[in-house]
């Protein structure tokens, strides 16, 4: 189990013991984290799991893939911290990760 903290757009925080090997998107969906939809089930087709990851642990994330980069390119509210949660797999390296979620995914 890896501790992940999701912070909503309005500041509401919730910490989750995430299962290693699962995607960050599925972790959010399973735990009813608002602001993460994951419509396409993780095939990088919809960009409805857009989130923001900053801080030292961001460096431990895999680099942006080509499709992920393109999908994010035109997403609303994109920043240097933007990621698609479906492309990130939870592992022990990410213990303490803080993920900010947007108000909505449209």
């Amino acid at each position: 189990m890896t501790k992940i903290t999701f912070v909503e757009y309005n500041g509401t925080e919730r910490s989750i013991d995430a299962e290693n090997g699962q995607s960050l998107m599925q972790t959010a969906v399973d735990n009813l984290v608002p602001g993460i939809d994951g419509d396409c089930g993780g095939s990088c087709a919809c960009a409805t799991c857009h989130c923001y990851i900053e801080g030292p642990l961001a460096a431990k994330l895999p680099e942006l893939g080509d499709t992920e980069r393109s999908m994010l390119e035109m997403a609303e509210g994109v920043t240097a911290a933007s990621r698609l949660a479906c492309q990130i797999t939870v592992s022990g390296d990410l213990d303490g990760l803080v993920v900010r979620t947007p108000e909505g995914q449209h």
Binding site: V29, P34, D37, D39, G41, S43, A45, C46, M71, M74
Partner: protein, 405 residues
């Protein structure tokens, strides 16, 4: 007694309805009734990674069993809703039980349209809609097998792509003169035909099945062209019939699906219909639509849940779809029906292009192949009702991002 909701169905719409009700603060009882032996799961991988054996069954679930326990959901698996009394607000179940409801969400989806030809009940003939369907065909879906796929829609072409990857010999028969006839333009269809033929698929268009015969346990598919094709496995993907019978028998308005308003309410008080089974008014396209897509299922479930939670919000979304075949990601936004102009951006030979569909200069839809940026932009343009000119859309030397300005 506090209000309760009964949800009938086991796909994306049913699963999302549970989540959105709880997310929206609904604290009454939720009962989920599904004829399948599984909690709500994702169907798109069935014709892709699940058929390919790359995805274990538990990964198909939208949410794990613990979620439903935590949400206090009474899940009745393997139980069919056989009768609905909309006046008494009561449901009859196949196990003999009765369920009273304040709100009922029909997320009954659809079933594959059966092949209409003689011999369609041959044991080698399979359809693809459920986990059980894929599990049933798997013993025949083996390397070296000859597979005849009837219908070159999304499902047929995705199965053909997986079949090639697994060393089967696929033959695809399509009644229409081109593949993806219901959804794509001749230009885009032609591209997918070249891709599949190039990959080794024996693709025959303008050919229907007139009969299926038996030869020592194998199926012999007789085509209208007079061919006789022996097959270890026949997979038919010739459309979906919406499951409206429960609603229809209860006197609820149905017309190519269960008729709903912009809030997914049917003609019966307290009864909603969402997903593939529903027929909704589209403000964007100025007509009624019955959509078969994940996005529609999820968003309509959210719409119904929001109404039940007392926060009604009209459904008004740009439809979108995706399909994975080989290394190609096809993303479609909008509906192209009625277009009078198609603009191709990029070179199809590079397997990266977007086809924009316009009517009277207005953007209706896009088919984007390995072009996520164009897909994302077009979805927004369609929603906003404004887009760059046809000339700008077709000029691939202008960066897509620059068109957004």
């Amino acid at each position: 007694m506090s209000a309760n909701v009964v949800i009938v169905g086991g796909g994306h719409a049913a699963g999302q309805a549970v989540a959105s009700l709880r997310q929206g603060g609904f604290d009454g009882g939720i009962t989920l009734v599904t004829a399948e032996q599984s909690l709500p799961y994702q169907r798109p991988p069935l014709s892709k990674a699940y058929l390919a054996g790359e995805l274990p069954r538990e990964r198909l679930l939208m949410r794990p069993p613990a979620f439903y326990e935590g949400a206090g959901v009474d899940a009745r698996l393997g139980v069919e809703a056989t009768g609905l009394d909309a006046g008494r607000r009561s449901l009859t179940l196949s196990d003999g039980g009765q369920l009273a409801y304040h709100h009922l969400i029909l997320a009954t989806g659809g079933r594959p349209r059966p092949l209409p030809c003689p011999g369609a009940d041959h044991p080698a003939v399979h359809y693809l809609r459920t986990i059980a369907d894929v599990d049933a065909m798997r013993p025949r879906f083996v390397q070296g097998a000859r597979i005849v796929i009837v219908g070159a829609g999304y499902i047929g072409l995705e199965v053909a792509a997986v079949a090639i990857k697994h060393g089967l010999q696929p033959v695809v028969l399509e009644m229409a003169p081109m593949v993806l006839a219901r959804v794509a333009s001749p230009e885009v269809a032609g591209f997918f035909e070249r891709v599949h033929r190039g990959a080794g698929v024996d693709l025959r268009t303008g050919v229907a099945v007139s009969a299926i015969e038996d030869r020592d346990g194998k199926a012999v598919v007789v085509s209208t062209a007079g061919d006789r094709i022996e097959a270890d496995l026949v997979v038919a993907g010739v459309g979906l019939l919406p499951n409206v019978e429960l609603a229809q028998a209860a006197g609820i308005d149905c017309d190519n699906g269960i008729v709903v308003d912009a809030f997914c309410r049917t003609s019966a008080p307290g009864v909603y219909a969402v997903g593939d089974c529903s027929n909704h008014p589209s403000h964007l396209y100025g007509r009624r639509l019955r959509l078969e897509s994940v996005h529609n299922a999820l968003e309509q479930a959210k719409t119904a849940a929001a109404d039940i939670c007392g926060k009604p919000q009209a459904y008004d979304q740009v439809p979108w779809f995706w399909s994975d075949q080989y290394e190609l990601k096809l993303q479609t936004a909008g509906l192209s029906q009625g277009y009078d102009q198609v603009v191709i951006r990029g070179d199809m030979a590079t397997r990266s292009f977007a086809a924009f569909y316009l009517k009277d200069g207005r953007l209706l839809a896009v088919d984007a192949v390995n072009r996520p940026i164009e897909f994302t932009l077009a979805k927004r343009w369609i929603k906003d009702g404004k887009a760059p000119s046809a000339q700008q859309l077709g000029d691939d030397s202008i960066e897509a991002k620059a068109l957004a300005a």
